[in-house]
């Protein structure tokens, strides 16, 4: 029986121990945030081209008031260090990383290159948001 279901592995948080603390720390040192203008009204300090191109239908980084590279990168690193990463990985990099803001909003970041990611907030009602919240409180 063939097994070809990459998609669902992208929607599941990797089991504890998939990455060693040392591996997560190494990834955290190398990771970069790129950003995507379609999720932004405020261009922030990302240096994107175009700086912002908010699009109907997309969730917005503005709702969580993240306007700087430094803050976006901080959330990526915190997510990595806690192991909030997808089962699916490409070239050693998890395809998706999740993080949680101080006010409890769930952020999701997608890999768009070798160690580079862009992110966006999830709606609270989304199944993945509920799962990440659960993971976060267990692994705090």
């Amino acid at each position: 029986m063939k097994k070809l279901r990459k998609y669902n592995r992208n929607r599941r948080i990797a089991r504890s121990g998939t990455y060693s603390p040392q591996e997560l720390e190494n990834l955290s040192k190398k990771i970069k945030y790129t950003g995507n203008p379609v999720h932004k009204r405020n261009p922030g300090d990302y240096g994107l081209t175009p700086p912002a191109r908010h699009r109907k239908g997309k969730t917005l980084c503005d709702t969580v008031k993240i306007f700087s590279q430094e803050v976006a990168l901080k959330y990526l690193r915190v997510g990595l260090e806690r192991g909030a990463v997808s089962e699916l990985a490409i070239d050693g990099w998890p395809n998706t990383i999740w993080s949680v803001t101080e006010d409890g909003t769930i952020l999701e970041a997608k890999r768009d290159g070798d160690g580079t990611y862009y992110g966006y907030p999830l709606l609270n009602q989304e199944p993945m948001a509920v799962e990440v919240k659960k993971f976060w409180s267990k692994n705090g």
């Binding site: 070809l4 379609v38 699009r55 109907k56």
Partner: protein, 235 residues
């Protein structure tokens, strides 16, 4: 019985992801004449029936959830609400990818039908929020549901091919589903796996073996019982 309709019109809109860019469209979803995508565009403060989204993540969600969407009923014990795995396969918002999707839940109440629930979006600070919910769930004949979803996925795959994006994850999974449906043994295997709450290929061999044996003895009665024995969420 109601009718499900998925209408769309392709748009040209730059995106970081070529698959999402090629499949950007103005999407409208209807149950009979009731628009489930009616939304407030928070940029223009206007009300519209269509929403601009990429159809690739939606098509990926539909094919990845195909068997469970068609055959996995609501869990028998709903005191804690359905688990994460169930929600990923039955709630459209799981299509995610940074889009705001309508809050639709779809699951079969029995062998012949798909039940659809809809609720307005609670959060109103993103680019759109959806206005329409259904007071009562609607029942769509499973044949109509399958036809609407299959046509939708076929059109997304064609669009990708026409854009020079062949052999995508979507087209591979879609071809595999069609292949599995043509083979009666695999079709039964997938269907039983879904009824037991597993994604394709993830049900333990022993359990699926027992399910095949029981299905042969009990026929459709097995389907009525299987939901009660379906896998719960693992913590």
């Amino acid at each position: 019985m109601a009718d499900l309709r998925i209408d769309f019109e392709w748009l040209s809109c730059p995106d970081k992801d070529p698959l999402e860019e090629a499949t950007t469209a103005r999407l409208e979803i209807y149950i009979d004449d009731f628009c489930l995508t009616r939304n407030v565009n928070t940029f223009t403060e206007t009300i519209e029936n269509s929403v601009n989204v990429s159809l690739y993540p939606l098509a990926m969600w539909l094919v990845s959830s195909w068997w469970r969407l068609h055959y996995e009923i609501l869990p028998a014990d709903l005191r804690m609400g359905p688990g994460h795995d169930w929600r990923l396969s039955h709630e459209m918002s799981a299509a995610n990818s940074g889009f705001v999707w309508p809050n639709l839940v779809m699951a079969p109440p029995d062998w012949e039908e798909i039940q659809i629930w809809a609720q307005p979006t609670q959060e109103q600070d993103h680019s759109v929020f959806y206005l329409n919910g259904l007071n009562d769930s609607r029942i769509v004949p499973k044949k109509n549901f399958t036809l609407a979803v299959s046509s939708f996925v076929d059109e997304v795959v064609t669009r990708l091919n026409d854009s020079g994006l062949q052999d995508t994850d979507l087209s591979q999974i879609w071809s595999l589903i069609k292949e599995e449906q043509r083979d009666s043994t695999t079709n039964l295997y997938r269907l039983l796996e879904a009824q037991l709450g597993y994604d394709p290929g993830e049900c333990p061999d022993k359990l699926i073996g027992q399910a095949v044996t029981l299905e042969k003895k009990l026929g459709s009665s097995f389907s009525e019982l299987s939901g009660a024995y379906a896998k719960g969420d693992e913590d």
